[in-house]
């Protein structure tokens, strides 16, 4: 088969008006990429012909493979789907979770939607990767729906067994309104519930508004299970009785008004105790762990670098949010200000901060904002998050740091990242996680960030596919493959490998770099998430490299 399977037209244009067209050609079972300079009209024709070819190949392939064993095919489809970018699957999970919580989860509708999304994702891959095209040919139309059903069933199983998504379910699981009415409530109980700031949810249980107050005071504590509302009512009744008799006197006209806050306080104490017990049952003695972590952090000498400028929070409300958010993760506002300061001559202005708690009681603080220079020109944006894990240890997540080219040249980013890393050491942060994109796919690996367990195999596959298509001698290729079999960070740090062409991750233009760098930068190589522990030899090397960029 010698067919044009894929091509991409970049925006690059020569002085004679011609543009480059990259074509993936299959010959003798091997793939070759060729670049031609053609007129835009020719390029358009080539694109149309390529699309027609793709259509023909898929149709022919489906006829050939109709006898394949269904389960084997689905199994392969499922395993291949795990290699796709996670975005659509994450969104599908979020959407399913939302519906589940509202008793609106429809298995078949979810299956259909997931199947359609999956087929689109596979089509994208097939359009630029001959291996995926070979695979795509084997998939039948109803396979997408079947795999969607598998996903929907897996979701239901997850939601039920983990019980992480609350009490929801499918419309069939929704309690009938008649059941809600079976909760035995007298008018007095209802009045008492109102006084206690208790309301009914759609299961007929008491929803505890008072809980938010308890949780605000005891930040990361989360009550698993249901509070015994009957106990609260009994307490309330008893308190009214006791209060009238003992505390406020029979003739005190305000006794009832005074009583409610008193009862709320009793309920709050009771719930606080329960929260502590639950928390220790789930996570062990968290308070103690946080105290140890903080003691260890206090033992380190904290140094704010002299050449660092400010983190600015102009809005009063936002500052309050930051202060309570810092408190939420057992840090101070000054800790954050020192950590996320911009270099001298610049400032990092916080625009949004949000403290949240996961369903497992893990507190986190997320903040983002804009970096300005002395003249208030916007030079970049930054988004960071800190959270404490179930052991009370701090972890940082670097979601985004994007700077204009001039600021990169000035070392603004390097100084900011270095300062953050030094502050993390002082605060006792245990790890830094980041999402890579564009040039970062190469740089963060070289700096020592290890791809996550989930992303590493995908990254290795992407690099491997790039090497396979590269224009190198067989012996050279084989040696590069061997290097890839070793540590990925070392693979990125190797120098002196032959240069090959790659598609620039931002512009898509053809560029040249040593094959290890080119494979990582290449537009076709997926972004990955990485992590580094804030201690040990690897961390020390990363800090040395960062310092090296400033010194050399």
């Amino acid at each position: 088969m010698s067919k044009i399977l894929q091509k991409a037209i970049s925006t690059q244009r020569r002085s004679d008006g011609k543009i480059p067209v990259k074509r993936m050609i299959q010959r003798g079972g091997k793939s070759f990429q060729q670049t031609y300079w053609v007129s835009p009209a020719q390029a358009k024709k080539m694109r149309e012909r390529a699309q027609k070819d793709v259509k023909g190949v898929v149709k022919a392939g489906k006829e050939v493979f109709t006898d394949l064993d269904t389960d084997a095919r689905l199994k392969k489809l499922y395993s291949m789907s795990l290699q796709l970018p996670r975005g659509f699957a994450i969104n599908a999970e979020k959407d399913a979770k939302k519906k589940w919580n509202n008793y609106e989860f429809d298995r078949d509708a979810h299956a259909k939607e997931f199947g359609e999304q999956l087929s689109q994702q596979v089509a994208i891959k097939a359009g630029s990767d001959s291996k995926w095209m070979e695979f795509y040919k084997t998939v039948r139309d109803d396979d997408w729906q079947k795999i969607g059903e598998k996903e929907a069933d897996a979701f239901i199983s997850r939601a039920k067994t983990r019980n992480a998504y609350g009490r929801g379910g499918t419309p069939a699981d929704k309690p009938p309104s008649s059941e809600m009415a079976t909760v035995p409530l007298t008018p007095e109980d209802k009045a008492a519930a109102e006084d206690l700031q208790l309301t009914l949810d759609n299961d007929g249980d008491f929803h505890r508004k008072v809980l938010s107050g308890v949780r605000a005071r005891h930040k990361r504590q989360w009550v698993h299970g249901d509070y015994d509302q009957k106990k609260a009512l009994d307490l309330y009744r008893q308190a009214i009785k006791d209060g009238r008799d003992k505390f406020y006197g029979k003739n005190d006209p305000e006794s009832r008004e005074k009583m409610t806050p008193w009862v709320v306080e009793q309920v709050a104490r009771d719930m606080e105790q329960m929260a502590r017990e639950n928390l220790e049952f789930v996570h062990g003695p968290l308070e103690e762990k946080i105290a140890t972590s903080k003691r260890e952090a206090a033992g380190r000498k904290k140094k704010k670098k002299k050449d660092m400028g400010e983190m600015v929070v102009e809005d009063e409300n936002l500052r309050e949010e930051m202060e309570s958010g810092a408190d939420f993760i057992d840090l101070s506002f000054d800790d954050l200000a020192d950590t996320y300061a911009a270099p001298e001559g610049y400032e990092f202005a916080i625009e949004h901060a949000e403290a949240t708690e996961s369903s497992w009681g893990v507190p986190s603080l997320e903040m983002n904002g804009t970096i300005y220079d002395d003249n208030m020109n916007q030079v970049g944006t930054m988004k960071r998050a800190l959270h404490r894990d179930e052991d009370g240890e701090l972890h940082a997540t670097h979601h985004l740091l994007k700077l204009n080219e001039y600021s990169q040249d000035e070392g603004v980013g390097t100084r900011m990242v270095l300062n953050q890393f030094e502050q993390y050491e002082a605060l006792g942060v245990r790890s830094v996680t980041l999402d890579t994109a564009w040039v970062g796919k190469y740089l963060w690996l070289k700096l020592g960030f290890k791809p996550t367990e989930e992303d590493e195999p995908k990254l290795r596959r992407d690099i491997s596919a790039f090497i396979e298509d590269a224009d190198l001698e067989d012996e050279q290729k084989s040696a590069v493959y061997q290097m890839l079999d070793g540590d990925l960070i070392n693979f990125a740090r190797i120098r002196g490998l032959p240069e090959v062409g790659y598609s620039d991750p931002e512009t898509g233009n053809l560029e040249y770099a040593p094959i290890n760098k080119a494979a990582l930068l290449n537009k076709g190589t997926n972004s990955w998430s990485g992590r580094i522990e804030v201690e040990g030899e690897d961390w020390d090397t990363t800090m040395e490299i960062l310092n090296g960029y400033l010194e050399d």
């Binding site: 970018p85 890579t436 994109a437 970062g440 740089l443 050279q476 740090r493 002196g496 960029y549």
Partner: protein, 71 residues
């Protein structure tokens, strides 16, 4: 089917790229310039590979890498 999906796929890809830039993804804030620590690391790795393949073979396969050892 494939044609329409490929076109739709391209749109999705563009949308994903847009979403990615809107939501985050740590771009490169660090200028990848000269770095003596990485120079030393590269030399170490070249040395390891020279031991593995033999210097002569390394010279043949990757002359630029072999040259690092002579610097």
């Amino acid at each position: 089917m494939a044609t329409s999906k490929t076109n739709k796929g391209e749109l999705l890809r563009l949308k994903e790229a847009k979403d990615k830039s809107a939501e985050g993804g740590s771009e490169n804030p660090i200028k990848d310039g000269p770095n003596s620590v990485l120079d030393a690391k590269a030399k170490e790795l070249a040395k390891e590979l020279a031991e593995k393949y033999g210097l002569e073979k390394l010279k043949k396969l990757f002359p630029e890498m072999a040259a690092l050892l002579e610097e």
